[in-house]
Amino acid sequence: MKKFTLPFMAALFLVLAAAPAILDGYNLSLLGRFLALALVTLGLVWCWGKGGVLSLGQGVFFGLGGYAIAMHLKLMGLPAGEIPDFMMWNGMSDLPAWWAPFKSPIFAVAMVFVIPGIASFIMANLLFRRRITGVYVSLITQAVALAFATLLTSQQGVTGGFNGLTNFTTLFGANYGTPEMQKTLYWVTVGFVALTFVVGILLERTYFGKTLLAIRDGENRSRYLGYDPVPYKVFAFTLAGILAGVAGALFTLHVGVISPAMVGVVPSIEMVVWAAIGGRESLMGAILGTVLINFAKDRISTALPDAWLYIMGVLFMLVVLFPPQSWKLPRLFKASKKPTFKEVHGD
């Protein structure tokens, strides 16, 4: 399978590299934002597909990354001494202290990694040290997503509330939104996806990658064998959190807006579906699944808005009933996977 995957991957990245020459501005910007979303899915492959931890709260980390960069953009567009417009409408007169450091581009970019990283690290430790597993993790992370979206909305004076943050003018000294910037942004996104993918392929082969699978397939059994599953799961969860944060920042730059509508319960579940469609433990599948489903959504929701929810609903059921990773024929997207202990011997 490896011999299929690698050439295929090389071909895909060649196509992606050539895309700006082929696609018009709109489709290129779509591809760029969907590739940004693919980073979330790549994270989910680690945390869910390989780690067995289904997080329904990826929107939280996505939002943290997105807001971190959006705060910077909001501050950069301001004349000296002014505060962002939405703060003024909320009757505020001074910039909150915790906003101020985001004026620095280096700080803001660092925070895109650091804040989601710390948040997911803390959350992972809280969950896994207490041996909270399975559906508990899913439902708790879902509650956190709901709480986070509600919090963002209710603190309108400092977060922009339901509207979120938008109307950016400059990015790192350049004009925001020019075709050149879009193209640069696209390259940066492709770069991140390629890097994440290659690192992922290498990580799959390491001791860590294999132990993670072992823990997923039999956590207690691994414990008996002397492995402490906690650091492995914490690492996978934190990795997924950081990737979601980077995805959020890139997505915000592509689209020009971040708002609570993109961080709550529903978007978080949608992210999981992208991973499920890609085959949940295949890195290649994650990228293809995310890009294809989002292009499909863009077209179908325009042509047949009534049908989109049915299609989406049926898709959810199909990928669960007939998971792509169990298909026999198209083994292209399938990660190398030996039968699990469970499958061979039963539980």
């Binding site: 509207n163 993109m262 292009f295």
Partner: protein
Amino acid sequence: MHFFAKQSRGLLHKVAGSAIISLSVGLLAGAQAEDVKVGVLHSLTGTMAISEITVKNATLLAIEEINKKGGVMGKKIASVIEDGASEPATFAQKAQKLIEQDKVSTVFGGWTSASRKAMLPVFERLDNLLWYPVQFEGNECSPNIMYSGAQPNQQILPAFDWAVEKGYKKYFLVGSDYVFPRTANLIVKKHIENDKLTLTGEEYVPLGGTDFSSVINKIKAGGPAIIFNTINGDSNVAFFKQLAAAGLTAKDYPVMSFSIAEQEAKAIGPKLLEGSYAAWNYFMSLPNASNKAFIKAYAAKYGKDQLITDPMIHGYVDVYVWKAAVEKARSFEPDKVRKAAVTLKEINTPMGKIKFDANQSLYQTAYVGQLKADGQFKILWDSKKNLKPEPYDALAFPGKTCKP
């Protein structure tokens, strides 16, 4: 993709073909050369679909009527309908698509402030024109947006002045937790303070929230004379059901609503709402002839027993103003249309005679209506003349103006 002609909006083309095709080739959807394309961008799915689909319908009706009478400057209007899916990011994405790919001359659409805010930078960057049909919180004037919905001084403040005139001294403000209620209430609070009246409380409930028991307790604890309600959507149903269950009738606790029009009243149940007030710039019960003709035309196209609301009328009127502006400018260029639109003479519409101000918002009359048992509003009060739109409230945001 010229071999997919305009009419082939078939399942096969859209579903099977498009995802793959559009990956490789830009989709140059081909309208006929003599058509002028306009975008219609509303949420057709998601939580806002409830409200926005009817605005889309009204907009399309206007386009159809204009086409029947020969179109605009001899060209038929071809509408490109897109779904904003109730997500700001999708609105921004689709706005970009309409302008860059479909090359539309202008776009009619949007409902929530979140969707407008997300689209604004796209329209400014690509220099196109958006016609926005819904009442909003003001504090914004983009040269690339025509704001036909009411500014605060055309809906919520006239309603406040009416309440003051009626002798109400105590106010309770309740709203959904988003931008319009919070900003509108900030303005109202300044005026309450300025007029030496009493504010007994202010509450926000998450959009879609269904539990109002604590809010109602707080309302009763404060004993307000009138409740200003900026709750949006489904939550209104829960609010009025629970208000009625707690025995708070319109007589004891009059409610003035800012997001309940004829359609919402029907979904909540006119029985529960009977006697409560609403403020708008249009009611279906307006007696003018143009309104009656519109209601008839709408029913002929979309079936009888259709309810017409304020945002629908604005969506309908916008198309006619755009047509008049294009004809005055003798051009479809957004920049020229925009300049022509603010210098037009008054146009006769179902909501009365209207025109745009230089700040690109609409001169319009404010009405206060009271809901009757049949689900229609009895108009109690009107502002007598068209009010000049003020994007910034002088009391709440002193010194702020739109720079034309």
